[in-house]
Symmetry: C2
């Protein structure tokens, strides 16, 4: 391994000079700088990360805690993670991957040992167990998500409440009076995952305002689960003419089931999703949807983190940033039918023979 000292010797200067060429923290004359650069290149020198971290007490690493669970939003999670890594690299930082499983101790470990300078947390729950470690500003942190009490925390998220409201606005504007919400898996609600609850609040609040009926059902992503939930919804509220879906994996099953039971989208029922653009655009009926801007979330999280690392008093150094939701109208939403569709209309394939 090539060391700073060897580069210095090769270039005929002192070690500190090489260091200053690298960091630019003191002026070095043009010729010297070039000579040093040449030696670095020539010897293939790479500064030792550990030594650097020790001497400067900055590791140039941030930790990213991703949920271990796989019951929700997997592609979104990966997309955020990749965006975080990419953005961090652009700032000269690397990213350490932590699984949610390890919980608060992992945060203490990586920050307490100086391994990571700061952390980004995903999949934040309303009353997250990791929050106490972060309150105040023990280790600098940014949450992707919004807990119940964000005081003293730095958070970025999509404004899911506004997203919910937007969906209701859109559908109510088209004339729908009864809306059903197909939510994430029950576990998501049981854990009080922020985004799910907030969407629901937004939906309910706006529906209440507009006098629109709203029925919410959590739902697993399996075809059978969707079938069950759909049947129950149609049974309880035959007047439902629109669905809001907040569950990527339930989208296709729902569309398939509606089709199979003779309900045309959007002529008979409208469907609006809260999901990534890619999912909405690729669905069997291109979906009117509120996008989940995964990449943007990852990017902003890192940027807020660096804003805070550089200037702890700056505007982005604390507080909550909610990205405004955008609803894109595609082909899955339209006015409700003149007369509600109450039952099946077209044939289905004959049941499997034995």
């Amino acid at each position: 391994m090539v060391t700073l000292a060897e580069v210095a010797r090769h270039a005929g200067v002192s070690a500190s000079t090489v260091s200053y060429v690298l960091s630019g923290k003191r002026p070095i004359s043009g010729p010297t700088r070039e000579r040093v650069r040449a030696s670095i290149e020539r010897l293939g020198y790479q500064p030792h990360a550990g030594a650097r971290a020790l001497a400067s007490s900055r590791s140039r690493i941030i930790a990213l805690m991703v949920p271990l669970r796989t019951d929700m939003y997997v592609p979104v999670m990966l997309e955020i993670a990749v965006a975080v890594a990419t953005t961090a690299r652009a700032h000269g930082y690397d990213v350490l991957l932590l699984t949610g499983e390890e919980g608060p101790p992992a945060l203490r470990r990586v920050t307490g040992s100086g391994l990571a300078e700061a952390v980004i947390l995903m999949d934040v729950q309303l009353d997250d167990g990791r929050l106490p470690v972060l309150r105040g500003s023990a280790p600098p942190a940014v949450l992707v998500g919004l807990p119940a009490d964000p005081a003293g925390l730095n958070c970025v998220d999509l404004d899911f409440a506004a997203a919910g409201a937007l969906c209701v606005d859109h559908l109510a504007g088209l004339g729908h009076r009864e809306i059903a919400v197909v939510g994430g898996s029950p576990g998501v609600y049981a854990r009080h995952t922020g985004f799910a609850e907030r969407t629901l609040c937004g939906l309910r609040e706006r529906a209440g305002h507009l006098g629109v009926g709203l029925l919410h059902r959590p739902c697993d992503g399996s075809h059978d689960a969707v079938a069950g939930v759909l049947a129950r919804i149609l049974d309880e509220r035959p007047g439902v003419s629109a669905f809001v879906v907040q569950n990527e994996t339930a989208v296709e099953p729902l569309l398939a089931l509606l089709r199979r039971t003779g309900r045309a989208v959007p002529e008979d029922v409208s469907v609006v999703a809260v999901c990534p653009e890619a999912v909405a655009a690729q669905a069997s009926v291109p979906l009117t949807s509120v996008a989940i801007p995964a990449q943007e979330l990852g990017r902003r999280a890192v940027e807020r983190l660096f804003a805070r690392l550089t200037d702890p008093g700056g505007p982005d150094a604390t507080g909550v940033e909610l990205l405004a939701p955008v609803l894109t109208v595609r082909e899955s939403s339209g006015p409700p039918p003149a007369r509600p569709v109450t039952g099946r209309r077209a044939g289905t394939p004959s049941p499997p023979g034995a």
Copy 2:
């Protein structure tokens, strides 16, 4: 920040004694050990990662390079990544997240700077640009995937060729004589991604042996793309009675389309998938499938890496490990119909009005 020296002072011993208590590399008497442990606890001491890495020249970090692309197998990738992180932690290591985007320089950077001791690569292509950096054993590395020439490399993967053969065996055993393969997106093949090509080889080879017709078509995951591919397949080879799908996102669209065109699964056509268990089990028709053991792959990759770090001459320290594929029969495969189904049989919903 609490240092080793402070712990030593607090416990009334020398710094080296504390270090030996921590590492266990020299015997320390019971009482002393306890006293030191108490001081560590009391002061909340955490060893400084950088200092440790510098002194021992071991960072206790491995790098994981995940593909940036999102055109394929996203949930599988995340699952592997999480398994890698979890397994590495069990060995006392942390995981650095690298995106494929940075390519070979990133590998040089993290290993050359001593940041990571070793690397794990995902999404390996047959002639991967990152391989030259790894040949021989410059930095210890394990690939999840299999390049064209694995000489001198350490690889783990599902035996996709065997998986392909297994699918053909199963279908041919049921009596099918014409099989269509719905593959990954065209980009996957254009990049010569190992697993896709290997599956295809396995399929072709076995089909050739058994005298079964095989038609392969790459396919994007969007509903429209699947519709196009399906139409072309049925047009070219009306005799096709079975499909092998190696594309998670194409599974539901395919099932929906078959249903819509009046082809019952498995009565009229059989479908076999190469995909994660969860996808197969949750599909609208539970799929006969060859599982992609994402977790197992991540786990084995890390274990091989540590085998190599501990004993460079050991059995797992080099070479290729291919996991045997397992085909699980579910409800989507059965004997072909007595007479081939050549066209649509049942009605579809009327086309959308303007």
